[in-house]
């Protein structure tokens, strides 16, 4: 009986560390709320919607990234794609292109970048993360060239429609951005869960050679995730520009590493073959929740920059635990 409980606990602990961490954060915040001195608006619908809204961009990026990671690749160019597509959207709209067409052009652009990534890293069999890192640097240069490194925004005459793209509030309080994020979440969940392409991704990420000899078209199935990731990155770029009415070449600087880290924190393996849409969402929400909780407790006013340090430590701790779990598993075999 006791060993059963022990096994059960270790099983839960190995399953979803990020989810447990979220519960822990909520519990701690509840404790802080009991004390009137540290009472905050953490448990309000306003804060909940704000939390989702401010992390929707990361979530959209992270969901595309999840498929790439599951298929055994990695895409660090998403920050660059996001920046460039946001800037291109604004510049196209300013030059008179209708908004829907501008969005489609941006998404095609993102897919084109994804196709280049896929060609070089999958068909030419190179290391994906350095190729996509280089692509990210290249795209940051493109973004600087397009804007002369100044922030850009949409002209006044078009700005209302463009801003409504992510800021319009459905039912009086839910911004469109959250709905878009939920749709992307549902689609990616469905793709990974119930399509043969999604299942093939798991097979390829798990063992490339075995998948190849099982008759899966490995090259095509491993390339498609990069296109999807480019697409979601472009979409998030447009949504970000619309949310802030601004495009800036510095937006995407550290986005890619942050997003990949958050996805890995959620339980998607960097080695491929393990992961899922909801896992990634949990990882991203955890990191967002942490900075939200730190803001609510006003840690910044006691020790400036402490939240960044804590966030870094938590990333290290969870990835450390993830690696350690794999090490234990290796040694058992």
């Amino acid at each position: 009986m006791i060993t059963n409980i022990k096994e059960y606990i270790t099983k839960i602990l190995s399953l979803q560390k990020a989810f447990l961490a979220i519960l822990l954060v909520v519990f701690i915040m509840a404790l802080f709320n009991l004390n009137p001195k540290t009472h905050s608006e953490f448990f309000s619908s306003y804060n909940f919607i704000d939390l989702l809204k401010s992390n929707s961009i990361y979530l959209i990026l992270g969901l595309g990234q999840t498929i790439v990671l599951v298929a055994g690749g990695v895409d660090l160019s998403i920050g660059g794609v996001m920046t460039v597509s946001g800037i291109v959207a604004i510049q196209l709209i300013n030059s008179g292109v209708p908004i829907p067409i501008a969005i489609i052009i941006c998404i095609v652009l993102g897919m084109a970048v994804g196709a280049i990534n896929a060609y070089i890293s999958v068909y030419q069999k190179t290391e994906p993360f350095i190729i996509t890192l280089g692509m990210g640097v290249l795209l940051t240069g493109v973004a600087q060239q397009l804007t002369d490194a100044h922030p850009v925004s949409v002209d006044f005459s078009y700005s209302e429609d463009f801003l409504n793209l992510s800021n319009y509030k459905l039912f009086g309080q839910i911004p469109v951005l959250i709905i878009v994020m939920l749709v992307v979440l549902a689609v990616i969940y469905w793709v990974l869960r119930s399509t043969s392409f999604g299942r093939n991704c798991y097979a390829i990420g798990g063992d490339y050679e075995v998948a190849k000899y099982s008759g899966i078209n490995v090259l095509r199935n491993k390339s498609l995730p990069y296109l999807i990731s480019g697409m979601t990155a472009a979409l998030s770029g447009v949504m970000l520009s619309s949310q802030l009415n601004a495009g800036n070449s510095i937006f995407g600087d550290v986005t890619a590493l942050y997003v990949v880290c958050a996805v890995v924190v959620g339980g998607t393996s960097v080695a491929g073959g393990i992961g899922g849409a909801f896992k990634s969402a949990i990882g991203l929400v955890l990191l967002g929740l942490l900075s939200n909780a730190f803001n609510m407790l006003r840690i910044d006013t006691y020790v400036p920059y402490l939240p960044t340090a804590l966030q870094g430590l938590i990333i290290v701790a969870i990835i450390w635990a993830d690696c350690y779990g794999r090490k234990r598993k290796r040694e058992e075999v």
Binding site: E127, I130, G134, G141, L257, C261, P304, Y305, C323, K327
Partner: protein, 323 residues
């Protein structure tokens, strides 16, 4: 000598060929290129990047990666500068370098205890640590940029590092040569240096053959930490200030320099000398583009394109050798 053998020679020494072509083309377009002032300028630019890249070479040769160099540069810089007035310049530099060593040891401790074996795992662990080191630097100086002052002494070590020279060779260049010599001997002639290459080649085979993997991991991250710290001190001497975010751009640039030099990202193949060539190529290119008046934005784009191209070409070469 047939044309085919010439092509083969060029393909095997792509970086050297690139450097020669760059030097010839630039000196034809811009006569100022080969003047003493410009060459001195190029050697000066070698500065921080080469030290960080030399340390990174060992890490990449062993099949790992170190993204924490950006955080280490910032942390070492702010600590060194704030300690100068309290304990003097020499001790401050010593403490700065030991902080680099401690950061490197901390990285290796995390990697060994977690049993991380792949580059990707090391990537995320060291990225997290980079955030931590950067934030510690921010907390330490409260986000304020610190300026280099020497209120108590008239002789300045930092001035000497920045602009001093013995004969015609600048002191920072001598420091670089000494570091290069030591690292080269360690890489080629010592047990630990050869172990690093073996670990990068095949970790399972290395373990079965009794190569000390954990020791190698401690060694590579310690070297990376110390070299980064030396680079940081040289950066401080050059710009005479320390900001808690100054290290960030060096992370990708150092990886770029190592990889362009020809060190295989998968590990097991590489040399500190190649990294020197890679860095030289990058700096020459930047210098050449500056002389021709190309904007920094386009240089940024080119840097990304060269990174992609270098990996791709290297990969193709390995394939053709394999066949």
């Amino acid at each position: 000598m047939t044309i085919q053998s010439i092509i083969k020679l060029i393909r095997n020494n792509l970086i050297l060929a690139g450097i020669v072509v760059l030097v010839i083309v630039t000196s034809l377009i811009e006569p100022k290129f080969l003047t003493g002032a410009n060459i001195e300028n190029i050697i000066r630019q070698f500065g921080t990047l080469i030290f960080v890249a030399l340390g990174m070479t060992f890490v990449i040769m062993a099949g790992f990666i170190d993204l924490s160099v950006g955080g280490i540069i910032s942390l070492v810089a702010v600590v060194t500068v704030t300690l100068i007035d309290k304990i003097g310049q020499g001790p401050a530099i010593m403490i700065g370098i030991s902080i680099g060593l401690i950061c490197g040891l901390l990285n290796s401790f995390l990697i060994i205890t977690s049993g991380a074996l792949t580059q990707a795992e090391a990537l995320f662990l060291t990225y997290g640590m980079s955030l931590v080191y950067g934030a510690v630097a921010q907390i330490y100086v409260q986000g304020v940029t610190q300026f280099l002052t020497y209120s108590k002494t008239s002789i300045s070590l930092f001035d000497a590092i920045n602009s001093g020279s013995i004969g015609i060779v600048s002191i920072s260049f001598i420091i670089f040569l000494v570091c290069l010599l030591i690292l080269y001997i360690v890489e080629k002639r010592t047990y630990i240096g050869r172990s690093v290459v073996l670990v990068g080649g095949n970790k399972v085979a290395a373990r079965l053959a009794g190569v000390p993997i954990s020791k190698s991991i401690v060694f590579i991250y310690a070297v990376s930490g110390v070299m980064t710290a030396i680079g940081s001190v040289i950066l401080v001497a050059r710009v005479t200030l320390a900001s808690p975010v100054m290290g960030t751009p060096y992370m990708t640039q150092a990886i770029l320099a190592v990889v362009v030099g020809g060190t295989a990202l998968m590990g097991g193949k590489g040399s500190v000398l190649w990294t020197v060539m890679g860095t030289l190529l990058l700096i020459l290119m930047g210098n050449c583009l500056n002389l021709m008046g190309v904007t920094t934005y386009i240089q940024y784009m080119l840097r990304g394109a060269i990174l992609i191209l270098a990996i791709w070409l290297d990969n193709r070469k390995q394939f053709s050798e394999g066949n």
